[in-house]
């Protein structure tokens, strides 16, 4: 694979006295699909939130697409333009229609004209299979539909990298599939993706590598088949046996 588009070296992060990320090193290549799993509180979400600086790391180096993340607001803005993010709780803007949710960021952050922004928004709503909901407000949609809008909204910014922070954890079981289908589609189109999820079936299907985290450390990173069938660490084995039992 080509050179790393996301590169973390010796990243540490504290919340007060709690050491949430410990000396994290991670490389994600262009076009690579990485799934991060691990018990709750292991620092998975914090890790991907550091990649677009929703959380500030305390030490170490994070480079995204060759740009280093530091105090420089220009750098932060540049990286956020390249990195899309999908949240567990969707976080659509409730006061804007589905279409406006998708056009506002394009118009304000990319300077796209309203007409072009609407055309692109409709194209991506088509891609997540809900163009007919464009005029509705988020509260009128089901959870699965809202999450698909959130994905479309991110894609409208033409990001090079997509981060998913437990995108299906807040969904009713019957809606998980419609959202995963969209993400699988996206993965197959060659998008670089980092996804925190407990959906191991999804990981097996699309991930190039799976990262197992515990206690703020990356314990293992391996292709899914290797990690699931032959985990190197005892901790990984334990975790997998717990979540795969059911």
């Amino acid at each position: 694979m080509s050179e790393a588009i996301i590169r973390l070296r010796g990243v540490n992060k504290w919340f007060g006295d709690i050491h949430v990320l410990r000396d994290v090193d991670l490389d994600v290549a262009q076009g690579e699909r990485v799934v991060i799993c691990g018990p709750s509180g292991s620092g998975k979400s914090t890790l991907i939130r550091c990649i677009n600086r929703l959380e500030e790391h305390d030490s170490g180096v994070i480079k995204v697409d060759g740009i280093e993340l530091n105090e420089d607001t220009e750098h932060i803005a540049a990286i956020r333009r390249e990195v899309g993010m999908v949240f567990q709780s969707f976080n659509l803007f409730p006061h804007l229609s589905v279409l406006e949710n998708c056009t506002l960021p394009q118009i304000r952050a990319r300077g796209t004209s309203r007409k072009d922004a609407q055309a692109k928004a409709m194209a991506y709503l088509e891609r997540v299979r809900i163009p007919e909901q464009a005029a509705k407000f988020p509260a009128q949609l089901s959870g699965g539909q809202q999450q698909r809008v959130a994905i479309a909204r991110s894609l409208c910014m033409e990001p090079k990298i997509m981060l998913f922070d437990e995108p299906t954890s807040a969904l009713d079981p019957e809606m998980i599939k419609e959202v995963l289908d969209v993400i699988v589609d996206l993965a197959q189109s060659g998008m670089t993706m980092v996804c925190v999820t407990h959906e191991m079936g999804f990981a097996k299907k699309v991930a190039d590598s799976v990262v197992f985290m515990d206690g703020g450390r990356i314990i293992e990173k391996a292709p899914p088949r290797e990690l699931f069938e032959n985990p190197q660490s005892e901790r990984t084995r334990q975790f997998l046996s717990q979540i795969l039992e059911h």
Partner: protein, 308 residues
Amino acid sequence: MHDQAASSVSTRPAPRRRRAHWSWIDLVLLFGGAGLLAYLAWQTNTAFAYHWDWSTIWPFIVRYDAASGRWVSNLLVDGLLTTLRLAFWGILLAGIIGTLMGLCRTSQRLFLRMVGTSYVMLIRNIPPVVFVFVFVYFIASQIMPTLAIGDSVAQWSSSAQFWIGILFGTPRLIDNFVLGLICLSVFSGAYVTEIVRAGIESVPRAQIEAGKSLGLSRADVTRFVVLPQAFRNVVPPMAGQFIQLIKDSSLVSLVSIQELTFMAQDVQVSTQRVFEVFVFIAVVYFVICFGLSRVFAALERRYAQAHH
């Protein structure tokens, strides 16, 4: 989704309406209240021995001007117009001050937070009447003469003066009006600030994060994501505060702004009809404030529909 909704509507029983049900306690309260009112009416007519005479105050609403042969508005209507102008501009200005100061109160910068907090604490902890005097005599009176708004307006074209007259009242009294307006807005703005702050704080952090992650600048996140939601969340307390502002506009009568309460006092002095005048302006204030509260209630319903 559509089909499910449609089918569930047809099978769902009609929502139960709140029934108008009278309990004996309601009736006791009703008769008790009616009895009290009847007693008060009887008292005012007998023990109080007040002779109601409304005819003397009508000329102060409109009077016939023999010289020009036309009906013209008199003191009470002029006062009402000034009150309406104070209310309109006051709501606008207090809204702007409150929004800016509310943003300061919730700013990440310590200095701005201190500015916002000092403003709110200073005004909220002084009685309104005292504030009006302090503001007008020690602050505004030092600044207004230098601005000399009235003098510059006097030099404008007559059509400009006509519109100024409609919007701000007679140019002759415009310095006075602006002074009262600023006083009222600065005072009310402190309360609006606290409502705006509460509104901003009611917007979940995740909304701000979503905005940031989409590459919106901090200013754009505030303008397009936070403030619109903040305002929607505080329509009821904001309505209350704006109605309060209209009622508080009577305070500036203390410093000779010729609005409704000031004019009422004038009329009362010259006619000696204390009760008629004050009952009259009480009704006028009620109509204005009640009207505004209906407008806000409609706004609230519209926002509620957009959300759900």
